[in-house]
């Protein structure tokens, strides 16, 4: 009876928290609209203190990027608090499930329910095999996060990890907690949950300055193989922003084109296919995140992605000639998006 009352109390608190967040939603992004869901999840994960803070962030922070990162920081801090709470039962499982719901279930219309529930079960198994430690939560979250689940065969990755951990557990691996480093890594992931798709597919994007937001002068030219374009360089230009079209299958180092004078090569790694990071195409592609990614963050949650634009240095000239490499496939193109300005 007492246990039933406790569960009812938690469910009631989650429902009230969700309703409170429903009242507070003020902005139209999928993340803001998912606030009630977030509130219910974080309450049931054992960190209800995050709910008033999430509401405060929604109310008080106008700038979208700052607001969404602030929500991520709040979630990370609440997770750390919950992880250190010795009174909370099964906190490792709760945190792992809550983290995956946060990272993979927004926006809800893109959730493949059966696959996601299967992934949650794998996460629970991983946490159990690693004995509920913070490291266990981190491994479960990372493995399930980087699994696109599209196509279905990608589920082989978490299953392989699960199998390996089962073997290790069978051979009496000692309990490894690594609490602080694990929670730190988890915090870094959760902070950018609003773009969890990018976290899953190109986390280093978030460790670099946001070049996608720099001032630009647009060129918008798509060059078929061997075609070239001559353009004047604006006086305050700091680099050329380029991307590829239909080049997602090329590997790092493959030539995309060249800038004259100076014979500056443009390769995969300097820029990538414009849409290579979309969830549906990522598994089939081989492009890496450009070294100096100038892509914009697009969409939210697990379907978020960054376009493959990269920043290429300019020669010291007033006019440049950009040529698409002749070896590009016939349907491919080198896209000159524009100049990054100081």
């Amino acid at each position: 009876m007492k246990r039933t009352l406790i569960i009812a109390g938690w469910l009631a608190a989650a429902a009230v928290s969700a309703y409170a967040c429903h009242l507070a939603v003020h902005y139209p992004t999928p993340i803001d609209r998912a606030l009630p869901f977030l509130a219910a999840v974080i309450t049931l994960a054992g960190a209800p203190i995050a709910v008033p803070l999430l509401i405060a962030a929604e109310i008080a922070i106008l700038d979208e990027t700052t607001r969404l990162i602030a929500m991520g920081i709040i979630w990370s801090a609440a997770t750390a608090v919950a992880a250190f709470n010795p009174r909370a039962a099964a906190r490792g499982y709760r945190i792992a499930i809550a983290s995956l719901l946060l990272l993979r279930w927004i926006p809800f219309e893109n959730v493949h329910l059966v696959r996601e529930i299967f992934l949650l079960l794998i996460a629970i198994a991983i946490v159990w095999l690693l004995r509920g430690t913070a490291l266990a939560v981190l491994v479960a979250v990372v493995v399930c996060l980087i699994t696109p689940a599209l196509p279905l065969r990608t589920l082989a990755l978490p299953l392989a990890v699960l199998f390996a951990l089962a073997l290790i557990r069978f051979f009496h691996m000692p309990r490894i907690a690594l609490t602080v480093p694990s929670l730190f890594a988890l915090a870094c992931i959760l902070t950018f949950f609003a773009w969890s798709g990018v976290v899953a597919r190109a986390f280093p994007y978030f460790t670099r300055p946001p070049l996608g937001d720099v001032r630009r002068e647009t060129v918008n030219a798509a060059l078929a193989p061997s075609r070239s374009i001559t353009i004047d360089v604006p006086p305050d230009a700091t680099g050329l922003i380029v991307s590829g079209a239909n080049v997602a299958h090329l590997r790092r180092g493959a030539a995309l084109g060249m800038i004259e004078p100076g014979a500056i090569p443009i390769r995969i790694g300097d820029a990538s296919d414009w849409g290579y990071m979309r969830r549906d195409f990522f598994y089939g592609g081989h492009n890496p995140l450009p070294r100096l990614s100038a892509g914009h963050l697009r969409d939210y949650g697990y379907v978020a992605w960054v376009d493959g634009a990269g920043l290429v240095p300019l020669p010291n000239a007033k006019t440049i000639r950009v040529t698409a490499d002749a070896s590009l496939p016939a349907n491919a193109a080198l896209q000159v998006e524009g100049f990054a300005l100081r």
Binding site: A13, P48, I49, P52, I59, A60, I69, A187, P209
Partner: protein, 624 residues
């Protein structure tokens, strides 16, 4: 500055943490640093000092709940000393304000002229270390028989600042108070130990007391509140330990610091009435009055005996709930940790004897503070007049610590960190013009152009939230014994915030024209921001011809309250109203708001001081 703060943060843990806890802290600190770098690279411009302050908050969490912690009053004092040293910079980056520059002026007079006559200081005001060249004698400052210009402030406090001032000017004077802050922390921790507070509770309470408002802010500003709190704790400790030399000296210093603390002396006297030493205490109380009679010719300085007469009971209720709940100057919003001390009063018999002593000794003082208009503290950081009581409330809070739900504690911690960071980052916001708004309310009102301030209880300009808040406080204190689970309490608070947000965006029933949500196109604030005893006026906004205001309003008839010498003609979204001249008395006029939503009120001719606009059904309710 930032690097010295980082080095301090690296060394501080060595004072209190040991073994595995110390190692874990360093790993955590490194993680916080890397995390901050990642955020900074993403363009999230968080002030690095704020990051250091947050890392310090995490360190305090380690002190509070760590396994290997070596804690003592001396170690606490050492930590407080380092932190207060770093707080001096942010607190003095803007000119000192309120009574502070006057205290410093007296110090300068003592140092340079060996007297208390400030006449030459005012003549040569350009050379004061405060940098406040706008200083003039305050209203009611005593004037000597030969034209001497004295300050209304008691001289002992300024005298205490002399050594620090001689060493390092203004910074040295502030450092002197920081030193008293360190002594206060040490004394309070020792007192809590003496009263039987366990080590784990002591460690949890220490950061909330020492590094939370109001002690943090007053420990690095030139007010006598922190030295007074130290003297009060020492007096209470001395009494409890039956060490007469200690408490007699402390009490003597206390009443010399500020005459109002005589009321505390009388409280302590009442507690010791059956002892022979009551006579000595009485002598201590009378001594400063004799001193003041000699110096300024009035035993009550700038006060009068008339102030001791009881006033209307409603004023007591207003001051009482105001001190507890007011958005700008109440404990709940400005120093929520000490609400636990208030809660401890409801468990009177279970509290330590020292707590009961402290509360009883301060009752008379509180009783005389409550009905006064300046219960908020006037032009000063919040809770000025009850800073001395904070160690007592901290003891009360410590005594009920294990009875309070962890969720409530968590909310208090988060709010305390927020208030402390806000005060350190924007020290000028610690001063408020006492117009019934508060920092958060003004900020949100400006952001949304809607009246958010009315969502926060105000007892300066009593609003609906004040009534609701008072009833809620009583209910919470009555229901506190039910032990509501923390997740339920937190979700209820979340619901209250969200509902408040929804309601705040709707047009208000009362429009206060000087408020932040009103868009002012011309005109001026009345009375001006730095008016002396500003809280005693009805605030408003003065409009001349062609000035206008816009705000959210409800459709229908309203009553406009105004003052106009020459009379005025105004229009509210085209609907004209003539406001007859009414001299310097407030009058009312009926006005019809043509539609709901944002409306513009324009002054077409004449001039008018607009106080407020109230919905007629609201006015009828008040009259009924």
């Amino acid at each position: 500055m930032i690097w010295s703060a980082v080095i301090a943060l690296a060394l501080l843990p060595l004072i209190v943490l040991r073994g595995k806890t110390l190692g874990t802290w360093y790993v955590t600190a490194a993680a916080i640093a890397v995390y901050a770098v990642i955020l900074e690279r993403r363009g999230l411009g968080i002030d690095r000092m704020i990051v250091v302050a947050l890392a310090f908050a995490v360190l305090m969490a380690f002190v509070a709940i760590g396994e290997k912690v070596k804690f003592s009053a001396n170690r606490a004092a050492l930590i407080a000393g380092v932190v207060y040293f770093f707080v001096i910079g942010p607190m003095t980056k803007v000119p000192i304000d309120g009574d502070e520059p006057f205290y410093l002026l007296v110090t300068e007079s003592i140092v340079h002229d060996f007297d208390l006559d400030l006449a030459n200081q005012y003549r040569d005001i350009a050379h004061t270390a405060s940098g406040r060249t706008d200083l003039k004698p305050q209203l009611g400052d005593p004037v000597g028989s030969h034209g001497q210009q004295y300050s209304r402030t008691e001289p002992l406090f300024s005298l205490l600042l002399v050594p620090g001032y001689l060493i390092a000017g203004l910074q040295g004077a502030v450092a002197t108070i920081a030193l008293f802050g360190v002594l206060l922390v040490r004394s309070t921790m020792r007192w809590l130990e003496d009263e039987g507070i366990s080590d784990d509770v002591l460690r949890a309470v220490f950061p909330l007391f020492a590094f939370g408002p109001p002690v943090l802010f007053y420990a690095a500003r030139l007010w006598p509140e922190v030295p007074a709190a130290f003297c009060f704790v020492e007096a209470l400790r001395g009494m409890r330990a039956h060490r007469a030399q200690r408490w007699l000296l402390a009490l003597f210093a206390l009443v010399l610091l500020k005459l109002r603390f005589v009321l505390l002396g009388i409280g302590l006297l009442a507690l010791r009435l059956r002892k022979r030493r009551a006579v000595i205490i009485a002598a201590i109380i009378v001594a400063p009055m004799i001193l003041l009679t000699v110096v300024v010719g009035n035993p009550l300085n700038v006060h009068s005996w008339r102030e001791l007469l009881p006033v209307a009971p409603s004023n007591y209720a207003r001051g009482f709930f105001g001190l507890l709940l007011d958005g700008a100057g109440g404990i709940a919003f400005q120093a929520p940790f000490f609400l636990l001390g208030i809660y401890a009063i409801t468990r009177w018999r279970e509290t330590p004897k020292g707590f009961r002593y402290g509360i009883l000794a301060s009752l008379l003082y509180i009783l005389y503070l409550l009905p006064r208009d300046e219960w908020t503290g006037g032009w000063s950081p919040p809770l000025r007049y009850i800073v001395f009581l904070m160690p007592v409330l901290a003891l009360g809070a410590a005594s009920v610590w294990h009875r309070v739900s962890r969720g409530v504690v968590m909310m208090i911690v988060v709010w305390t960190i927020g208030v402390a960071l806000h005060g350190l980052a924007r020290p000028w916001r610690l001063f408020h013009i006492a117009n019934g708004e508060n920092a958060i309310g003004e900020w949100l009102s400006t952001m949304y152009r809607a009246d958010f301030s009315r969502m926060f209880p105000s007892f300066i300009r009593i609003n609906d939230a004040a009534i609701i808040g008072s009833v809620a406080l009583i209910a919470i204190l009555l229901l506190a014994r039910l032990r509501i689970p923390s997740h339920v309490a937190i979700s209820a608070v979340a619901l209250a915030i969200a509902y408040g947000f929804v309601v705040a965006q709707r047009p208000a029933r009362t429009i206060q024209f000087e408020d932040a949500h009103v868009v002012h196109e011309g005109g001026a604030l009345y009375p001006e921001e730095y008016a002396v005893i500003r809280f005693a006026y009805r605030g408003g906004w003065v409009l001349n011809a062609n000035d206008s205001l816009s705000f959210l309003a409800q459709q229908g008839p309203d009553t406009l309250e105004y003052v106009s010498g020459p009379g005025a003609r105004i229009a509210i979204d085209g609907s004209e109203v003539r406001l007859p001249s009414n001299g310097d008395h407030y009058a009312t006029a009926r006005i019809n708001v043509p539609h709901a939503g944002r409306v513009t009120l324009r002054c077409l001719e004449g001039a008018v001081n607009l106080d407020r606009m109230v919905r007629e059904d609201n006015v009828r309710m008040v009259h009924d």
